[in-house]
Amino acid sequence: MAEVGVRRFARLSFVHFGVLPLLLVILVIGFGVAEPRFLSGQNVFNVSRQATYLTVVSMAQMLALLTGGFDLSVGVILAMTSVVSAKAMASVVAGSPNAVGLAITLGIMAGLGAGTSMGIANGLGVAVLNVSPFMMTLAMASIGFGLALFMTGGVPVYGMPTQFGATLGFGRLLGIPAPVYVTVVVIFGMYVLLNWTRMGRYFYAIGGNIKASALSGISTRSYLFMAYVLCGFLASLGGVMLTARLETGEANIGAAMPLRSIAACVIGGVSLRGGTGRVGSVVLAAVFIEWFENGMNLVRIQSYLQMVVLGVLLIFAVVMDEVRHRYVAKLREV
């Protein structure tokens, strides 16, 4: 009888939370046994900082996915932000070496402006011109990458004030890394947006059924547009954070971000068909991916092979999602 109860519990938790809890358990036990450093305080601290970037970008990606699309350009939004903010800071500091605060503020604004405007372009393409999200953001990825390389000539941008990296990249408050604070604010903001505002409700509705939403009097175009703009803004914010961490502006950061952020969302239970997904699960999934990669580094799995593993994991998550849908359908029949 106990066994039946356990099985029932496992099945129900699978239906409610998806494959993620199982993966986390395997992760902690597997790497924890294989490599004691994996669960050490220092390592957890490192991972928590390292995971902030993927978490913020996954929040961005989640907005696009909820409305039934996706954003393949999140990587180059990161890159554009990085390059533009670094260039802006470097040139202000070069002109007036004492205006550090101004340089950092202007640099961040310029970076966020550049990244968000790519989101605006995506939004216009998808919502107004009816270009499919796949084509629009794929093309935007090419445009953005090209521009970023053109601006830098392919070499990293140096010359940012050191204070930028020291605070936003490596700074701590009460022993907690600075990027974690930014990320917590982003997560909280996303939770409120998606659960307590009209806009969030409409994102779910549009992703679930755009026709029904339009017939309910919702301006589907403006909300679709807003989803991509917010997506661009959040990805861009992730770009600023990553630039502070790297202390250079680089055109080729974020190349793996589209895949990793979509993986985080899908493993976190965001439906690729749009309309469903929870903030908490996506955060957990992003942390999971980062921690998993960290674990593979610790047991010295080559980075090339890590890409293979991540791909396999993504497919596994999608397959499990299908299985879950079938379970849900079965539960309905009872």
Binding site: W196, Y202, G208, L215, G217, G275
Partner: protein, 520 residues
């Protein structure tokens, strides 16, 4: 005329005392939340037209889908020419001589007629398509059937009636012993219908069995040999056509007399709510004028493709208006949009709840609140008022008797009838004065239907609302509406009032002029 290719065994089974072509025993099928078929027995003899009759949702589609191999039964036995059979797929069933013409066409819109005709059975030489041979065969088939269609025409350029002909030609392509027709005349003119009936008689003559689904009484008597009535997934009766009077069939179908099924709704027309003048909209609607007043139900009848649905959509602002005037409660609405019309008090209930009415991934509460979120009961300056939202939605769920009354449950967990109630509840959040209901009872069971009718009665009598009822369900038009407009090819053909609304009168305006409907 060799209508169908000679097939071994088909002809030899003819004659009296022939074993049934198809015999279904105690067939059951469950879908999420409903039992679609409950131990249904069914026989089909060679050379007969067996009519399947029943309401939407009675189980007809499930039954024919099983026979056609598209669904598998959960229980029961299928015997084809005496031998137990399991169809693995539509292709498998087709190989064994069973062809179906469904209401939703199985045509690929971007392909030509000939490509569609032989889809899945392409003629090849080696690994390559034999296009000339295919073209010839297609021409032959169409000529044999007497269909004036060009084999090279693209299907998406054809009218609905022409597409229906392609679909029928596809079914009759070859090797036929059982033909399933699901409301095949819904889009056909009278002349095309005559042609189809001739084809059906030819098939009968060759020993094929035909399963025919229709709602039209006169067709049942014209073409049917036997009739099986289904209700709520059960077989109620199988009758010889000579024993089946209209009254008896309706009683068998609905389980009650007509008077008990449709409530009597008082007619006290008040303020004019909607006035449409010379409306031209979309690609279909031409110069339509109509009015709807408070306290009345106005019908809009016509065939599929007559533009009746588009008139409702144009008034709600989802079909582009190119000419004409729309006035709502005396105020001209130059450019209607869903938001504006909802704010003014007009609610549109779309015909297909799954594609246009509901966000099935979300729960009942979110669906009900969707059109109303901007109102102050639902949202404050920045945040939603979720407690107030919950209260309002729970009250509406109770008023419409959504069962079970769990508003946090996903919409997809509910039966068709309850889903339809959610769609109706969506409209009620704003106290609207006019409902445009497009096929409000499509695909829901008898019990839910009566509830919807009584709900309409309550709206009209107690709240003084007006309803524009757009419906392909003739009994609904006949028994619920106070006035009815009949549309044909995008124009209003006639306006009928009160006692003038008879089956004969409405049907006579459905088709081309002069060809009044015989029988009925």
């Amino acid at each position: 005329m060799a209508l169908i290719d000679a097939r071994v065994g088909g002809a030899s089974e003819r004659g009296s005392g022939a074993p049934p072509l198809l015999r279904l025993r105690a067939l059951s099928k469950w879908f999420p939340g409903v039992q679609a078929l409950d131990h249904v027995d069914f026989d089909l003899l060679p050379g007969e037209v067996h009519v399947l009759f029943g309401e939407n949702g009675a189980g007809k589609s499930t039954l024919i889908n099983i026979i056609a191999g598209a669904l598998k039964p959960d229980e029961g036995e299928v015997r084809l020419r005496g031998a137990p059979t399991h169809f693995r797929s539509v292709y498998d069933a087709r190989q064994q001589g069973i062809s179906a013409v469904f209401q939703e066409f199985s045509l690929v819109p971007d392909m030509t007629v000939e490509e569609n005709l032989f889809l899945g059975a392409e003629l090849t030489t080696g690994p390559f398509l034999n296009k000339p041979a295919l073209h010839l065969r297609a021409e032959e088939t169409l000529a044999r059937l007497g269909f004036a269609l060009s084999p090279r025409a693209r299907v998406n350029r054809l009218s609905r009636a022409e597409q229906q002909m392609v679909e029928i030609a596809k079914a009759l392509r070859s090797n036929l012993s059982i033909l399933i027709l699901d409301e095949p005349t819904a889009a056909l003119t009278e002349r095309e219908t005559d042609r189809l009936f001739q084809l059906i008689r030819d098939c009968k003559g060759q020993g094929a069995g035909i399963i025919y689904i229709t709602h039209r009484m006169n067709e049942i008597h014209r073409i049917g040999d036997r009739i099986t009535v289904l209700r709520d997934g059960r077989r109620v009766a199988t009758l010889q056509m000579t024993d089946a009077s209209d009254e008896k069939l309706v009683e068998l179908m609905t389980g009650r007399t007509i008077e008990a099924f449709f409530p009597t709704i008082d007619h006290h027309p008040g303020e004019e709510l909607l006035a449409v003048e010379g409306l031209t909209a979309g690609t279909l609607v031409r110069d339509v004028s109509l009015t709807v007043c408070a306290g009345e139900i106005v019908g809009l009848a016509g065939l599929v493709g007559s533009g009746k649905s588009e008139v409702g959509r144009a008034c709600f602002g989802v079909e582009p208006v190119s000419a004409g005037r729309i006035r709502f409660r005396g105020t001209p609405v130059p450019r209607p949009t869903p938001r504006r019309m909802l704010d003014a008090g007009l609610v549109y209930v779309p015909p297909d709840r799954r594609t246009e009415g509901l966000v099935v991934e979300r729960n009942v509460r979110e669906n009900i609140a969707l059109p109303t979120l901007p109102l102050s009961q639902f949202s404050g300056r920045f945040l939603l008022r979720r407690r107030s939202e919950r209260g309002i939605c729970a009250r509406l769920a109770k008023r419409l008797r959504i069962t079970p009354p769990r508003i946090e449950q996903g919409v997809s967990f509910f039966s068709g009838g309850n889903q339809q109630k959610v769609v109706l509840a969506k409209g009620l959040t704003r106290n609207p004065v006019l409902f445009v209901m497009d096929e409000p009872t499509m695909g829901i069971d008898v019990g839910a239907k009566t509830e919807v009718y009584n709900f309409m009665k309550e709206l009209v009598e107690r709240e003084g609302a007006g309803i524009l009822l757009i419906s392909s369900d003739l009994p609904e038009i006949l028994h619920l509406t106070h006035r009815t407009y009949v549309m044909y090819l995008g124009r209003v053909r006639a306006e009928l009032k009160g006692a003038e609304i008879t089956e004969q009168a409405v049907l006579s305006h459905f088709f081309e002029a002069r060809t009044a409907v015989a029988g009925g």
